[in-house]
Every structure is written in structure tokens, then in C-alpha cells.
């Protein structure tokens, strides 16, 4: 791995000194919940995370939110501060699509490291499934592609990922089974997650024979849409002690971002995507002082099955082109080589960006994942992807302080 990335040593020193941690997590019910608004979910998730940390609402002095697909706000963070009844010293809305939740951890850490805040509530919630209007859905689909040079050709969001998937299959001689295997593993994991939406067993054959959305992707290659909320509290080890937080802490070891493109039209080749994933991962791994083989458990953005393969390979967990075989051999399952998305991910639990990925990583490192618990994980990676495998973010978390 390249050691020449700027800022690695400085960030390492800062994280060693500050010991930034995730000290509390919360998840509401997930699914089709038509009687709760977007801000209801945000509030409920915030309350759960504050209660999980065992602190008071007034102990929170920073707020990071994201955006809503239902409620149109220009200033999402302060709109929520007003609704929830907070007076934050630091506030920010992060909006990089599926890369958002992972970057919320980094945003909070940077605010803490620069003295803007000590206890940051990071929260997302939305009634996407029940609340989105058809014009809102159209706007969302359009947001993902170029309004002038892509959308008039009828590109959909699954279609954008299908374009990447088709090229992946072509370049590596991979098969649809390799994609399907990702969905099958996510479904297996969701069976043990209390609030997962889809728990019925799923076979490779089920995925292949389900309704075609955009070839080569079928219904089960695509993530679900859901209502729900999730939150986490970011602070420092010292502040957590001062506040009397009793949870085991998940320590931030490193973070990074990687940009490939916004519109597929400007994508040169698959390597451009791999490079963006790799840059994001490298920065996080190098700051953490680890290699991919040191990672015990991974949370990879799984809006579509193809993204998991691109991320497994781009992050260096498996050689390029071998992600499909890795998935098909069941090596992402709990108890195997590299457990991935032990909560069922966006494909089977619920879709709230990578919020649940961050929450589950924390629960696993704490040893609080119940029947899904991986044996003594020490290092977790969470990777988010926004746009159509466009914008990437990675964090490395550990169950001990970074050394």
C-alpha cells in the first residue's frame, strides 16, 4: 500500500491523541411504517442512541444529519435541531448519497478534533417507502443520472448499476450467479437481525428467476426501500468516561474518501471505480496502520449486488475479478473468511444508506450483536458508496484504541 498519501501521519497522531469513539447507537423499527414522519424517525433514533449511551440530551453539543428524500429542506441539520429541541455548538448536513453515513463518522471526528464539539449526534431517518411521492421518486432517479444527456434515454438507478454489472461480467468472465450469491448471503444474515424486513430464505435460483429489472440485475439484486431511522453518538474516550458511559467503545482508527465520477458518461473504465474505492480504503487503512488481511469484519455498501464485488476487490480483500467466487463459496458468511454485513445490509435488512452498517459494526465490536455475533472481532471496516459507484468513503473501527 502506498505510504505517500498526504496527511496520514498527522491524522494517526490526532486519532491517537483524541481517541475518537462511537459510544452509543440506536435503530428504530424498519419496514413499511406509514404512520411516522421523517422527523419522527430522526427523533426516535436520536433518543435511542442517547439512551444507549446513557447520557442526557443536553450532553450532546454537536449534530450531523444528512438529507431527506421526502421532506425538502435546504438546511437539514438545523431543521432537525429545531424539531428535536437542541442547541448544538456544531452542526452540519452531509450529503454524498450512500457515502454519507460513513462520512458522518469522519465529519463528527473532524469537528471533535478541531474543538468544535465534544459529543456529536449523527442521525438519519426517513419515511422513504411510505412518504415519497412519484414526482419525488422521479426526481431521485433523475438526480442519479445526467438530466440532459442520460435521463432522456430512460436510464434508471438500477439500470446505472446494471451498466457497471454488465461490464464487470464481461471483463472478468463472471456470471449472474456470482452477483446473486451476494444477495443470498445478505438474506442469510438478515434472518438473525430483529428489525430486518426480508428474512425468508433465498436461493441463487430465486434470485436468477425473479423479475428482471435491468439486465443483468433482477429484483433481488436490488436493495429494498424502507421507512426507519438510525443514529450514533461520536465523542472521545475521555469524554465518554467523564459522562459515565458504560458501553464498550468502538474506536475510530482511520477514514478516507475516493471519487470516481458523477455521471457514467464520464467513466473511462472499471479501473476508475476500483481506484476510487482503493484510494478511499488506502487512506483509512494506512491511517489505521493495518492491511486488508487484518480486518475481521466488513460492512460494504450493498445497494446492488454488484457494488459488494467491486468493493471487496477495490478495497483489496480479494484480487480483482475474484469477488464473485468469494461470494459464491459463502466466504462472506458469519464464521467464514470475512463476514460481510452481518445485519443483512441494504439488500435484506433495510435501506438507510450505510447507517445500519455503522451501527452493526459498533455492535459487533462491542460484542452486542446477539445471535449474529462474530467471534471476538477486533477490527471492522465500513465502506459507503454514493451515486452510481461514484463517491466512496471508508472508516476503520477497532475495539481498542488505535496504536
Amino acid at each position: 500500500m502506498s505510504e505517500n498519501l498526504p496527511g496520514i501521519q498527522e491524522t494517526r497522531e490526532l486519532l491517537k491523541k483524541k481517541k475518537v469513539v462511537i459510544a452509543g447507537v440506536g435503530e428504530t423499527e424498519q419496514g413499511k411504517i406509514p404512520d411516522k414522519s421523517s422527523f419522527h424517525f430522526l427523533s426516535e433514533a436520536s433518543k435511542l442512541a442517547i439512551e444507549d449511551a446513557g447520557i442526557k440530551k443536553d450532553d450532546v453539543d454537536g449534530l450531523v444529519t444528512a438529507f431527506s428524500l421526502v421532506e425538502h429542506t435546504f438546511m437539514h441539520c438545523t431543521t432537525f435541531a429545531d424539531y428535536f429541541g437542541m442547541n448544538p455548538r456544531f452542526f452540519s448536513s452531509v450529503a454524498v448519497g450512500g457515502a454519507t453515513a460513513v462520512w458522518m463518522v469522519a465529519e463528527a471526528a473532524m469537528a471533535i478534533a478541531s474543538g468544535q464539539s465534544e459529543v456529536v449526534l449523527c442521525v438519519r431517518g426517513d419515511n422513504t417507502l411510505s412518504g415519497i411521492s412519484s414526482s419525488g421518486m422521479l426526481a431521485l432517479i433523475r438526480e442519479m443520472c445526467h438530466a440532459e444527456f442520460e435521463f432522456p434515454y430512460g436510464l434508471t438507478t438500477p439500470g446505472g448499476y446494471a451498466l457497471a454489472a454488465q461490464r464487470y461480467l464481461h471483463d472478468w468472465g463472471a456470471r449472474r450467479e456470482h452477483l446473486a450469491a451476494v444477495a443470498v448471503t445478505m438474506r442469510k444474515h438478515a434472518a438473525d437481525k430483529e428489525n430486518a424486513m426480508n428474512k425468508d430464505p433465498l436461493s441463487i435460483e430465486d434470485v436468477l428467476s425473479s423479475r428482471v429489472i435491468a439486465e443483468p440485475l433482477t429484483k433481488y439484486d436490488c436493495s429494498i426501500i424502507s421507512d426507519g431511522g438510525a443514529a450514533f453518538i461520536v465523542t472521545t474516550e475521555d469524554k465518554a468516561k467523564e459522562l459515565g458511559i458504560e458501553n464498550d467503545l468502538a474506536y475510530l482508527w482511520g477514514m478516507g474518501q475516493g471519487y470516481s465520477h458523477q455521471y457514467l458518461t464520464t467513466l473511462e473504465n472499471l479501473d476508475q471505480i476500483y481506484n476510487a474505492v482503493e484510494r478511499s480504503g488506502q487512506k483509512a487503512f494506512n491511517t489505521a496502520g493495518i492491511e486488508p488481511r487484518d480486518v475481521d469484519i466488513a460492512f460494504l455498501y450493498d445497494c446492488f449486488t454488484i457494488t459488494v464485488l467491486l468493493e471487496l476487490e477495490g478495497l483489496g480483500f480479494v484480487p480483482k475479478g475474484e469477488g464473485g467466487a468469494f461470494a459464491l463459496e459463502g466466504r462472506m458468511e458469519i464464521g467464514k473468511d470475512l463476514p460481510v454485513n452481518t445485519h443483512g445490509g441494504l439488500l435484506s435488512q433495510a435501506h438507510l444508506g450505510a447507517m445500519h452498517h455503522v451501527v452493526e459494526a459498533t455492535l459487533q465490536l462491542r460484542g452486542d450483536a446477539g445471535s449474529r455475533q462474530v467471534e471476538d472481532p477486533e477490527v471492522a471496516v465500513v465502506h459507503g458508496n454514493g451515486g452510481i459507484v461514484s463517491a466512496h468513503s471508508t472508516v476503520v473501527l477497532g475495539n481498542q484504541p488505535i496504536n
Binding site: S134, L138, I141, R142, C145, H146, A147, E148, F149, E150, F151, P152, Y153, G154, L155, T156, P158, G159, A162, L163, A164, A165, Q166, R167, H170, R211, V212, I213, A214, E215, P216, L217, Y263, L264, T265, T266, L267, E268
Partner: protein, 141 residues
């Protein structure tokens, strides 16, 4: 034909000042691709300034032969809006043009099952409304 055109309910491009020459040429059934006069490099989609290091606003529109290859494609069985309901599956593709840039488009005049990566394609023009012509691609030769 003209009545049919008026019923076109699928998404249409909203022109920006810097993209207008592209759409005006398309209406005349010509494909033009922007190029920086400073570096001689083609780029796509059109921007006001070249996206290269030159950041030049000295842009020329070069007429293209309209030849390219399918770089990737997806047969869409579900469209982005109600206007696609009941329509047969259609091909959305990224076309690698001879000029080196990629364009997103539809591959038409072919059974979607016969489309493949690397296939040679040639531009054709679909006058979807009186104002808008979409450049599309069909198998070459």
C-alpha cells in the same frame, strides 16, 4: 406522425446555454462533439469550460461520423416513469465513440438480445418532438 410526437411523455432534456449547439445540430441530424481548441481534446458531455487542466472556454464543435462501439449496455425492463409502462424492454448503452468520448444512448433497430459489448454502432436520429431530436445508435453496416 405529428400527433404521435405531441404525446411524447418521456423525459426530455432541458437545454443549458452551453449545450444548445449540440441539440441544435441534433435537430439537423448532425452529431457534434465539443473539443477544446487549446488542447485539441474532445470531451463529453458538453460544458462551458473544458474539463481538462486548460479550463478553456474556447470550445469548438466538431462534426462526428457517429461511429462507436457498445462499451456496456443494460436491457431495461422497467422505465423511470409511467410513460414507459407497457412498453417493450429497451437498451440503454454507453457508446465509446471513435473520438474517444463516451455517450449514453439507446441502441435501436435491433432485438435487444442481439446487443453485445464491442458491437459496432452508428448514430441515427429520433425526432421525438418538434423541438427535440435524440441521437440514438443502431448496429453499423
Amino acid at each position: 406522425m405529428s400527433e404521435e410526437k405531441k404525446e411524447y411523455n418521456k423525459p426530455l432534456p432541458e437545454f443549458r446555454p452551453e449545450t444548445k449547439p449540440f441539440w441544435e445540430a441534433a435537430k439537423e441530424h448532425r452529431l457534434v462533439i465539443p473539443r477544446s481548441r487549446e488542447t485539441g481534446e474532445f470531451f463529453f458531455y458538453p460544458r462551458a469550460l473544458s474539463p481538462g487542466g486548460d479550463m478553456s472556454d474556447d470550445i469548438e464543435w466538431v462534426e462526428s461520423e457517429g461511429r462507436g462501439k457498445v462499451w456496456t449496455f443494460s436491457i431495461h425492463h422497467m422505465g423511470p416513469s409511467k410513460a414507459y409502462k407497457g412498453e417493450p424492454p429497451y437498451v440503454v448503452a454507453l457508446i465509446e465513440m471513435e473520438e474517444g468520448v463516451k455517450m449514453m444512448s439507446n441502441v435501436v433497430d435491433v432485438d435487444p438480445k442481439d446487443v453485445s459489448i464491442g458491437m459496432d454502432v452508428q448514430v441515427c436520429f429520433d425526432d421525438v418532438t418538434d423541438e427535440v431530436t435524440l441521437p440514438k445508435f443502431k448496429p453499423a453496416g
